[in-house]
C-alpha cells in the first residue's frame, strides 16, 4: 500500500506528471460521460448549418453536414480511447502469455516465437495493421484486432526478456527447491516481477495506438460513418481546409494533446519507477 501511494504521489508531484494526469483525466471523463457533456448529438445533420465558424452555440463550429464539431470531438474521445485501450490490453495479455511461456520453457517454442517476433518487429506497426485490415476488412472491430496484433511483438519480446532474466534468480530456484510447480513459479513469481516495465510500455503504446487508430480512420479503414473518430474527422476536413479549417484543426489538436499527455505521463511513471534501463535493455 505504502509503495503504491508513494509512487502515485511521486508521479503527481512531477510537474509533467501532474499536468498530463489532469489532461488525461479530462479526456477520460469526456469519453465516459460523452452523452452528458456533449451539447448536441454526434449524428444530427443540419445541412443549413454546414461549415459554420466557431461561435457561442457551436464552440468548435460545424462540419460539412452541419454537425456540431465539439460534440463529435467529445464522442470521438470515446472511440479513440476505447479502441486504443482495448487493443493494447489484448496485446499485453496475449503478448505476456506467449512471452512468458517462451522465456520460461525455451526450446523449439521459444525459437518459433522469437522468429515470428523478429519478423513482425522489422515492419512498422502501421504496415502490419494495413495488411491485416486488407485481409479482414475495415471497421472498428478490425481496427482493434489489427492494432492489438501490430503491437503484440513488442510485449512478447519484453516479457520474454524479463522472464529469461528472472528465471535464474535465486528466489525462483529456491521456490522450486521447496516443491513449487511451473504454474506457481510463472504466475506467482515471474509475471509479477516482469509486470512493471510491461505496464509502462503498454501505457506508452496506448498513445501510439491512438495515432494508429486516427491514421486508419483518416484512410477510412477505421470507424465507419457516422461514428465519430478523430482521424476520420480530419480526413473529411481536408476537403474544407480553405473554407472551414477548424474541421481539421480541432480533431488534430485533440489527438496531439491526448497523445502528448499520455507520453508525458508515461515518462513521469518511468522516472518515478526508475526503470528506464530495464525498458531499454530488452
Amino acid at each position: 500500500m505504502t509503495i503504491k501511494s508513494d509512487l502515485i504521489s511521486k508521479v503527481l508531484r512531477n510537474p509533467r506528471g501532474g499536468v498530463s494526469a489532469v489532461v488525461l483525466l479530462v479526456v477520460i471523463i469526456c469519453a465516459v460521460f460523452a452523452p452528458l457533456i456533449a451539447p448536441y448529438a454526434y449524428d444530427v445533420q443540419a445541412l443549413r448549418n454546414a461549415n459554420l465558424d466557431p461561435s457561442w452555440t457551436n464552440w468548435m463550429g460545424t462540419d460539412e453536414f452541419g454537425r456540431d464539431l465539439f460534440s463529435r470531438i467529445i464522442y470521438g474521445a470515446r472511440t479513440s480511447l476505447s479502441v486504443a485501450v482495448t487493443a493494447i490490453s489484448i496485446s499485453v495479455a496475449v503478448g505476456m502469455s506467449i512471452g512468458a511461456a517462451a522465456g520460461y520453457f525455451g526450446g523449439m517454442f521459444d525459437r518459433v516465437v522469437t522468429a515470428a517476433v523478429d519478423l513482425t518487429w522489422s515492419f512498422p506497426e502501421i504496415l502490419i495493421a494495413l495488411i491485416l485490415i486488407a485481409i479482414i476488412g475495415p471497421g472498428l472491430n478490425s481496427t482493434m484486432i489489427a492494432i492489438s496484433i501490430a503491437y503484440l511483438a513488442q510485449f512478447t519480446r519484453l516479457t520474454r526478456a524479463q522472464v529469461m532474466a528472472l528465471k535464474n534468480e535465486t528466489y525462483v530456484e529456491a521456490t522450486a527447491n521447496l516443491g513449487a510447480g511451473h504454474t506457481h513459479i510463472i504466475f506467482r513469481h515471474l509475471l509479477p516481477n516482469a509486470l512493471t516495465p510491461v505496464i509502462v510500455a503498454g501505457m506508452l503504446a496506448t498513445g501510439d495506438a491512438i495515432i494508429l487508430e486516427a491514421t486508419l480512420g483518416f484512410f477510412g479503414l477505421g470507424a465507419q460513418p457516422p461514428t465519430p473518430s478523430w482521424g476520420a474527422m480530419m480526413s473529411s476536413g481536408t476537403a474544407q481546409i480553405f473554407i472551414a479549417p477548424w474541421i481539421i484543426i480541432f480533431p488534430g489538436l485533440a489527438i496531439a494533446i491526448t497523445v502528448i499527455a499520455i507520453n508525458l505521463f508515461g515518462d513521469a511513471v518511468i522516472e518515478a519507477l526508475d526503470i528506464r534501463n530495464r525498458l531499454r535493455d530488452s
Binding site: 534468480e169 528466489y171 529456491a174 527447491n177 516443491g179 506457481h184 513469481h189 509479477p192 516481477n193
Partner: protein
C-alpha cells in the same frame, strides 16, 4: 534404519565424473557435516539428494540414495516435487537473493505450507508466525507483513530457514547457509539450526567449508576431497585424531584466538580440476605424508584406528 543413506554414488556431467563414490548415512536427530574446499563436490552431493542434477545436466550413474525407504535415484520428477519442501528441504547459500523482492515475507512462508499441507490462508499465516517466533524473529507479526528489502541479511536467512521448515520436513539440506553472513550472525544462525534439530528430531545435512562451524554444530563429519570421501568420523574423534592428512590440514586452517598476526594458515595448492584428477590418491600432490604408492594406487576407504578414511599413510584396522 538410517533416514538417509547415500551409497557410493557416482555423478556424471557429460563425460566428466565430478562425484566418484560418495557414501554416508544420516539418522533422525543427527547433524552431519559435509566439509571440503570449493570444488570437492559438497554442493553436488546436496543436489544429488535434492534431485536437482538434471538442472545442470548431471545424473547419478551408479550407487543409491535412499530416503526413508524411498529410492531417490530415478524417482519421477512429479513425485520428487511432492517430496521437495514437504519431506526434504533445501536452505540455499545466499539469503539475500533467496526471497522474491515483491512478495511480502509472510506470504512466501505461507505458500509453502499452503502448497504442501493444503492449509487455508489464515491457518498458514498462524503457523508461519508461530514458526517465526520459534526462530527467535522479533515482532513476527510486523515482519510477516514486511518486504524482503526491509530486513537484514541475518533476518532474511532466518526467513529462508522458516520457509524450509514450513511444511515440517524430516530432512534439511543446508548448503553453506552462513557463508554470506558475518561471523556473529553466523554463530546465531547455526545455533538456531542446532536447536531445531534437537527439539524437532530433524536430520540436518550441513554443508560447509568451515571446520569451526563443524565443531560448533555437527555430530558426525564427512570430509570430501575431489569428489571422493577422504574421511568420516564422529566430530569429537575427527578433531582428536584425524586420520587423513587433508583433514589435518583443514583443522590446522581454523583461525585460533591469540594467533600471531600473519600466521593464518592455508593449504598450499588447490583442489584439482575435474578435467585432470591426478592418478592414485587425488590429494597426493598436496600431501605432506605422501608415499610413492599414493601416486599410483587409489586408497581404499576402510576402518582405521579411529573412524574411516581413505589413505595409504594411515594404518588400517582389520576386524
Amino acid at each position: 534404519m538410517a533416514l538417509l543413506t547415500v551409497d557410493g554414488i557416482r555423478v556424471a556431467i557429460g563425460s566428466l565424473t565430478p562425484l566418484d563414490g560418495v557414501s554416508f548415512t544420516l539418522d533422525k536427530g543427527q547433524i552431519l557435516g559435509v566439509v571440503g574446499e570449493s570444488g570437492s563436490g559438497k554442493s553436488l552431493t546436496a543436489m544429488s539428494v535434492m534431485g536437482l542434477l538434471p538442472l545442470i545436466g548431471g545424473r547419478v550413474v551408479s550407487g543409491a540414495i535412499r530416503f526413508d525407504g524411498i529410492d531417490l535415484v530415478g524417482l519421477a520428477e512429479p513425485k520428487y516435487r511432492a517430496l521437495r519442501g514437504r519431506r526434504i528441504a533445501l536452505i540455499s547459500q545466499n539469503p539475500m537473493t533467496s526471497l522474491d523482492p515483491i512478495i511480502r515475507i509472510g506470504a512466501q512462508i505461507d505458500q509453502v505450507a499452503m502448497l504442501h499441507l493444503g492449509l487455508g490462508a489464515e491457518a498458514a499465516k498462524a503457523r508461519s508466525i508461530d514458526l517465526m517466533c520459534q526462530l527467535r524473529i522479533p515482532e513476527a507479526e510486523t515482519i510477516h507483513a514486511s518486504y524482503p528489502h526491509q530486513l537484514s541479511g541475518g533476518m532474511k536467512q532466518r526467513i529462508v530457514i522458516a520457509m524450509a521448515l514450513a511444511a515440517d520436513p524430516d530432512l534439511i539440506v543446508a548448503d553453506e547457509p552462513t557463508t554470506a553472513l558475518d561471523v556473529t550472525i553466523q554463530a546465531q544462525i547455526i545455533q538456531i539450526m542446532v536447536d531445531l534439530v534437537r527439539e524437532r528430531g530433524l536430520a540436518l545435512m550441513l554443508i560447509t567449508h568451515d571446520m569451526g562451524v563443524v565443531a560448533q554444530a555437527c555430530d558426525r563429519v564427512v570430509v570430501l576431497y575431489a569428489g571422493r570421501v577422504a574421511e568420516a568420523n564422529s566430530v569429537e574423534a575427527i578433531f582428536a585424531d584425524p586420520q587423513h592428512p587433508y583433514t589435518r590440514e583443514l583443522i590446522r586452517c581454523i583461525p585460533r584466538h591469540g594467533q600471531a598476526p600473519g600466521s593464518l594458515k592455508g593449504i598450499p595448492g588447490a583442489v584439482p580440476s575435474v578435467m585432470d584428477y591426478p592418478q592414485g590418491c587425488r590429494f597426493h600432490p598436496r600431501c605432506e605424508a605422501a608415499l610413492p604408492l599414493c601416486g599410483t594406487s587409489v586408497p581404499v576407504f576402510e576402518r582405521k584406528t579411529s573412524g574411516f578414511a581413505a589413505c595409504h599413510a594411515s594404518e588400517a584396522v582389520h576386524a
